[in-house]
């Protein structure tokens, strides 16, 4: 008995029942396509989250004004103006801290020629770009001198550069922010979405001092909106957190037992939560898709069982002319396997097409990896063998006389 010939017999049997073969295959196709689609969406979500985390900068704390505790009428974090530039400078001098970026924000109207655009204007120190690990694509970020002298200079995010300048090179040009002229020193590289889904490239950066004095006109001079603090290394983050807490409580003259009027948030922990959520979503999508694959598999078993019963006489004839049990088993198993492999191939193609359509229609990131395609395919084959085995064994276990007598 040679395998090739038996593959031929299996293919012949499948061809003789095209409609039945096609319908069974459809179950497999849909199952595999669902798996590929779901995995690619899940993987895409994970990739989006990972990119957002990577774009955040490493070993980061965010220090916000306002208490953490969620007492009923307490001010929400960020609403009180309790953090100052002095706090930021003090934190920067802690031994466990590498850099600190105090930040103020506000929205303002930008103009360049006839184009105008309303966006978030962020006042920062030059260190901000180091903390965020954010480099320019063109030109430079502003300097310490610009910061100290509260110069009217601005660094543009990608989206703003596109919207105001189109294809023109913005560096060296002058735009207006709240009608005051600002010199564009550079354009930042694209950063993409942040964890909360904001487009980080839709923003512009000016020196914090310039913002305080000329743009935002704060009611509380010297306060900042929040600060980003970068620890020296991942290992000393806990230590750094308690140092920051201690220092700020001291500076804010908070007695023992009083609530802090600021909040220190470790971004790594936040990132872990986001990553975890994305993973759970991936797993859930995968599980849902597996169910459809299972249903497809049961469909195959169903068809193969019917086929065994229907072809009992044929099995008897084959045995009478010399087919042994293994040959019968192999043939039926191969029939199931061929359905699964062809269905798997078509399913992979459909899944990839579907993922592409989803990415286009819903503007979502989808990621298809070879591993995922391989997994879906392997899974399909496993389903084929698993669900093909029972009917195949049933066929092979028949005694020739019994099979021949079958009407």
């Amino acid at each position: 008995m040679n395998l090739l010939a038996i593959i031929g017999e299996a293919l012949r049997a499948l061809r003789l029942n095209r409609l039945r073969t096609g319908l069974t295959m459809l179950g497999m196709i849909i199952g595999v396509a669902a798996v590929v689609l779901m995995l690619s969406i899940g993987q895409g979500a994970q990739t989006t989250v990972n990119q957002a985390i990577a774009s955040m900068g490493s070993n980061l704390f965010i220090v916000l004004p306002g208490a953490t505790s969620s007492g009923a009428m307490r001010q929400s974090s960020g609403s009180a103006q309790t953090l100052t530039l002095g706090d930021a400078q003090a934190v920067a001098s802690l031994p466990s801290i590498k850099a600190v970026a105090p930040i103020i924000t506000g929205t303002a109207q930008l103009n360049f020629g006839a184009n105008n655009w309303s966006t978030v204007v962020t006042g920062v120190t030059p260190d901000y770009f180091k903390v965020r690990n954010w480099s320019t694509e063109d030109g430079e970020v502003f300097s310490d001198t610009d910061f100290r002298s509260a110069a009217r200079v601005v660094v543009l995010g990608q989206v703003i550069a596109k919207n105001l300048f189109g294809d023109e090179d913005p560096t060296g040009k002058t735009i207006r922010i709240k009608k005051s002229p600002f010199l564009v020193t550079g354009v930042l590289a694209a950063k993409g979405q942040s964890l909360d889904g904001r487009d980080q490239d839709d923003s512009v950066f000016i020196p914090l001092t310039t913002g305080q004095r000329q743009i935002f006109g704060s009611q509380f001079p010297g306060t900042i909106r929040f600060m980003m603090v970068q620890g020296k290394s991942a290992e000393i983050m806990e230590e750094a957190e308690s140092e920051i807490n201690q220092l700020l409580r001291q500076r804010h003259r908070l007695a023992e037992g009083m609530d802090s009027d600021f909040t220190v948030r470790n971004m790594a922990a936040l990132a872990a939560v986001a990553t975890g959520a994305a993973k759970v979503m991936s797993l859930m999508l995968g599980a849902i898709a597996s169910v459809s694959l299972l249903v497809g598999g049961i469909g195959i078993m169903n068809i193969m069982l019917v086929s065994v019963t229907e072809r009992t006489r044929e099995i008897g004839i084959r045995m009478a002319i010399g087919a042994n049990r293994r040959a019968i088993l192999t043939q039926f198993l191969l029939e199931a396997l061929v359905i699964c492999i062809l269905g798997g191939l078509a399913g992979v193609a459909l899944g990839i097409g579907g993922a592409w359509a989803v990415s286009q229609a819903a503007d979502m990131v989808v990621v298809i990896t070879l591993g995922m395609v391989g997994l879906a395919f392997l899974f399909a084959s496993a389903v084929g063998i698993f669900f093909g085995f029972y009917p195949a064994r049933k066929a092979a276990a028949l005694r020739p006389v019994e099979a021949l007598r079958y009407e």
Partner: protein, 244 residues
């Protein structure tokens, strides 16, 4: 009861001793019921013989043929085929025996549907591990020998009964068996076609020395054989001349 003593120089192909077959049936009323169909059947058939088995319907002819053809296993007794004890062989070995040693011809032809005559004839060789080209060559040659050279591409439902039985005989012959077992091979055929089919068997026996055992109801079919075995209620009641 005259019994032909086998020629002592001739070599035995089939030897059965005290073969019994009992079917167990679960009739659903009073549990399992055993019904014995063959009682102590002993036979010796030499190479080159042409034996007809006759008997009333239900006398156990098909049961005996199935046992001789290794399609079923006896309840008790011994069976040596070509000197080999086959009653005790495992199913895989029996498949080999059916493939290599025996060619079976059925009353209802039992061809594989929607498959050409050529492929039908070639199928046993698939299980014998013979290559596709060689299989087809041999299958075509056999179809020519049985007069069906022009019908190789026909499917069973496009052939007459007689033609289908010739395809079945070609299939039985394709792996050069030593023994042909035919269970009422002419049962579904008219008299003239029966004669043609019997002529094929007769020629195979005479020219190629193939041992043939066939079951029939009809005396003129049995007349082609050289020896007659008559069964009655599962027992051998005659073993000898055809004109009994």
């Amino acid at each position: 009861m005259a019994s032909v003593q086998p020629d002592s120089t001739a070599e035995s192909l089939i030897r059965v001793e005290n073969l019994c077959k009992t079917y167990s049936l679960d009739n659903g009323i009073n549990g399992t019921v055993n019904s014995q169909v063959l009682y102590d059947v002993s036979l010796n058939i030499n190479r080159g013989e042409f034996v007809a088995i006759m008997g009333h319907s239900g006398s156990g002819k098909s049961t005996l043929m199935n046992l001789l053809g290794c399609l079923d296993t006896p309840s008790s007794g011994h069976y040596w085929l070509a000197g080999r004890d086959v009653a005790a062989l495992p199913e895989n070995e029996l498949a080999r025996v059916r493939n290599h040693t025996i060619g079976f011809v059925f009353q209802g032809f039992n061809l594989l549907k929607r498959m050409t005559a050529l492929d039908n004839v070639a199928t046993p060789l698939l299980y014998a591990g013979v290559g596709r080209a060689e299989s087809r060559r041999r299958a075509l040659e056999l179809l020519r020998q049985t007069g069906l050279g022009n019908f190789a591409a026909y499917q069973p439902n496009q052939l007459s009964g007689g033609q289908q039985q010739r395809v079945a005989i070609s299939r039985a012959l394709v792996n050069n068996p030593q023994l042909i077992l035919a269970d009422e091979p002419t049962g579904n055929l008219d008299t003239q076609t029966s004669g043609e089919i019997m002529a094929v068997f007769e020629r195979l026996n005479r020219e190629q020395g193939i041992t043939i055992v066939l079951v029939t109801h009809e005396n003129d079919v049995a007349a082609y054989a050289h020896r007659l075995v008559r069964l009655k209620d599962g027992r051998v009641v005659h073993d000898g001349g055809v004109t009994a």
